[in-house]
């Protein structure tokens, strides 16, 4: 029976639909492991084998250092940064690294030249290969290598119009969703890590608590509230302010709360290229604080208070010159040296400046890190104690600029090295500035005029090296 035109068309449509049907069924989204490190942020596919999650080890290590691999039968040899050697065997759950056996938790798989390791073993495997910590966040399929995490604090300052202030150690780009009982902030692209406790309570009726959790969408903070909330972000993307709708304080520096922070329909995709960029801003560290009072110059004159007062003056001077400032300590709180370094490094500032005072000597002293002779770092990771070594020349430039301005204003200045933490741990230009009185009266350290004169000179010195420090790689 000959085919009529309509029958032919029907058959053609039916055939087309038959072929196309599998493609019209939505394929499951490909899972990816997001890798965050100081060297690069990138992602790689997670594949399932025998019901377990696996990742390609070469793809994981390649952006972090020099990797070579060689497959011989069931053996797969890997060499990292010409130092670490590992030998995997297909079907075996053990790996030999630098002559020592380690347990993978599941079989190593060799697919052609590609070596697959269980995702769950990365917490233990990567530190042995990289020589530094690696923290897997399995719920959010993220791995943070070294000190790549973005930490945050959450406070609700007492006010007629309570707001939750979330202060992050690095810039963040959350998506925002209003839900019953509160507001959900999701961080699909940022290496936000958990606070000490996943539940944060604020003792406030309007915003009583917030909860940190992780899901395959990333890190999440759910802010509880009886009424509707809105969120705004500061210009530097480090401070989020969550406020009851309609009560944002006038003059707030946050963005208009009605503007969505991020398009929530955007597909989360971690960055695939190094995102470290240097803006010209300064991290000011008022040294000591809390239990650590520093030098007791007199019973009422403590170094921790003087450094805080001076930090405020210097911040004001720098901001007048258009230089953005992150103050690590704005009240009388304890901050460990490691915390100070981690916060400074996470923000990729152009200059870290630790402030000290001393009743000993005269004028201002500028200190750069005393590092072991010939200290240098190779590969993507930096030894914590000598992290500063690659940035020492920038620190010297900053010291010279500030010293020059001080001397032009008749303030004695001297540049030295010092065994002073956390200078050696900082991955940007880093100085400690120690202010001593000009005369024999230590009380001059508390003089507003004296502090102001030094703050103005230091700020001018920092501004004078903007062109040289603003391009640190």
């Amino acid at each position: 029976m000959p085919w009529t035109r309509s029958a032919r068309n029907f058959a053609l449509i039916a055939f087309t639909l038959l072929i196309a049907t599998p493609r019209l069924v939505p394929a499951p989204a490909e899972r990816k492991l997001s890798v965050y490190s100081t060297a690069a942020n990138y992602s790689l596919p997670i594949v399932q084998r025998d019901g377990k999650d696996y990742v390609g080890l070469l793809e994981l290590l390649d952006p972090l250092g020099t990797v070579s691999t060689k497959a011989e039968g069931t053996r797969w040899r890997l060499r990292y940064n010409n130092k670490i050697q590992a030998e995997f065997t297909a079907g075996s759950d053990r790996v030999r690294i630098q002559g020592r056996d380690s347990y993978l938790g599941a079989h190593f798989l060799l697919e052609g030249e590609r070596g697959l390791v269980p995702e769950a073993c990365l917490n233990t495997l990567l530190p042995q290969l990289l020589g530094g910590p690696a923290t897997l966040h399995p719920l959010s399929d993220r791995i943070l290598i070294g000190d790549a995490g973005t930490h945050f604090t959450a406070t609700v300052p007492p006010s007629e119009h309570p707001s939750l202030i979330l202060q992050f150690s690095g810039a963040v780009s959350p998506t925002v969703a209003t839900e019953a009982g509160g507001l959900r902030l999701t961080f699909p692209r940022d290496p936000v890590v958990a606070p000490a406790s996943p539940t944060l309570t604020f003792g406030n009726k309007t915003i009583p608590s917030a909860t940190y959790s992780e899901s395959n969408a990333g890190a999440e903070i759910f802010v509880r509230s009886a009424g509707p909330l809105v969120a705004g972000v500061s210009r530097d993307n480090r401070t989020l302010t969550v406020t009851p709708a309609g009560s944002l304080a006038p003059g707030s520096s946050v963005a208009p709360p009605t503007t969505p922070l991020v398009d929530t329909s955007a597909t989360p995709a971690p960055p695939n290229a190094p995102q470290i960029s240097r803006r010209y801003f300064v991290v000011l560290d008022a040294s000591h604080g809390g239990d650590d009072r520093g030098e007791a110059i007199s019973s009422s004159l403590l170094e921790k208070d003087l450094t805080l007062a001076f930090a405020r003056r210097l911040r004001e001077q720098l901001e007048k010159l258009g230089i953005t400032v992150l103050a690590l300590r704005e009240s009388d709180v304890n901050l460990s040296l490691d915390q100070r370094a981690a916060l400074a490094n996470a923000n990729h500032a152009a200059l870290y400046l630790a402030l000290h005072t001393s009743s000993s000597g005269r004028g201002v002293r500028l200190f750069t890190a005393l590092l072991p002779y010939g200290a240098e770092n190779r590969g993507p990771f930096r030894a914590w104690d000598t992290a500063q070594s690659a940035y020492r020349s920038y620190s010297l430039i900053a010291a010279a600029g500030i010293s020059s301005e001080l001397q032009q204003r008749q303030i004695p200045a001297r540049s030295l090295m010092a065994p002073q933490r956390p200078l050696g741990n900082i991955t940007e230009a880093a100085l400690a500035l120690e202010i001593a009185p000009q005369g024999s009266e230590a009380a001059q350290l508390a003089s507003p005029d004296y502090q102001q004169a030094i703050a103005a000179a230091v700020a001018a010195g920092i501004a004078s090296v903007r062109d040289k420090l603003g391009t640190v790689p």
Partner: protein
């Protein structure tokens, strides 16, 4: 009879001598030194270089001194620092240290590591500040490095324990590299 008389005379003589010595001991000052007993030193003096800190100028001066030194390398190290502390404990000290400050021991560990163990009075009472603490560290470490060849690294302990800082500033948590300290000493020898 003669022997008995001789014995009696000897007993009386020794008793008199003991009485004499008792009286002499009673005249010694009662204040006891808290410093550890130094090893006996014999032999001729040697010329050494002491890295002496001067607080007023914020400088280190390398000064020659003649001191008797024992033959043992470790005891020599301790004597060098003891000579330094004698200068700092003087009334006209250029770099006053707290009362009771002392070096408990110096350990020389191959290859090239010198461990200086100071007492807690030294650290707890030390003046706080980057420069004052730095001067002390450099003074101790450079005095050893300048006189004992082969020292590559220096570690400072307090009462045998690791401590984060000397008095809130100078880092004691790690090892000092002798070459880097040499560079720092050069900086500290120059007037501001």
């Amino acid at each position: 009879m003669f022997a008995a008389a001789l014995l009696l005379g000897t007993v009386l003589g020794l008793s008199a001598y003991a009485w004499h010595m008792r009286g002499k001991a009673a005249t010694l000052p009662l204040a006891a030194s808290t410093r550890p007993v130094a090893p006996p030193i014999s032999g001729p003096t040697e010329t050494v270089t002491l890295a002496i800190a001067y607080d007023d100028a914020g400088l280190i001066h390398l000064q020659s001194a003649q001191i008797p030194l024992p033959s043992s390398r470790q005891q020599r190290a301790e004597e060098l620092l003891r000579a330094l502390l004698n200068i700092y404990s003087d009334r006209a000290s250029p770099h006053p240290l707290p009362a009771g400050a002392d070096v408990r021991a110096v350990y020389l560990v191959d290859p090239g590591l010198a461990v200086i163990d100071i007492n807690s009075a030294f650290a707890n009472g030390h003046r706080s500040g980057i420069l004052p603490e730095e001067l002390t560290v450099v003074s101790l470490a450079q005095t050893l490095a300048a006189n004992l060849p082969g020292i590559l690294r220096i570690k400072i302990l307090v009462d045998g324990q690791q401590r984060d800082t000397l008095a809130g500033h100078a880092d004691l948590s790690g090892f000092y590299d002798a070459a880097a300290l040499g560079q720092l000493t050069t900086q500290l020898q120059s007037a501001p």
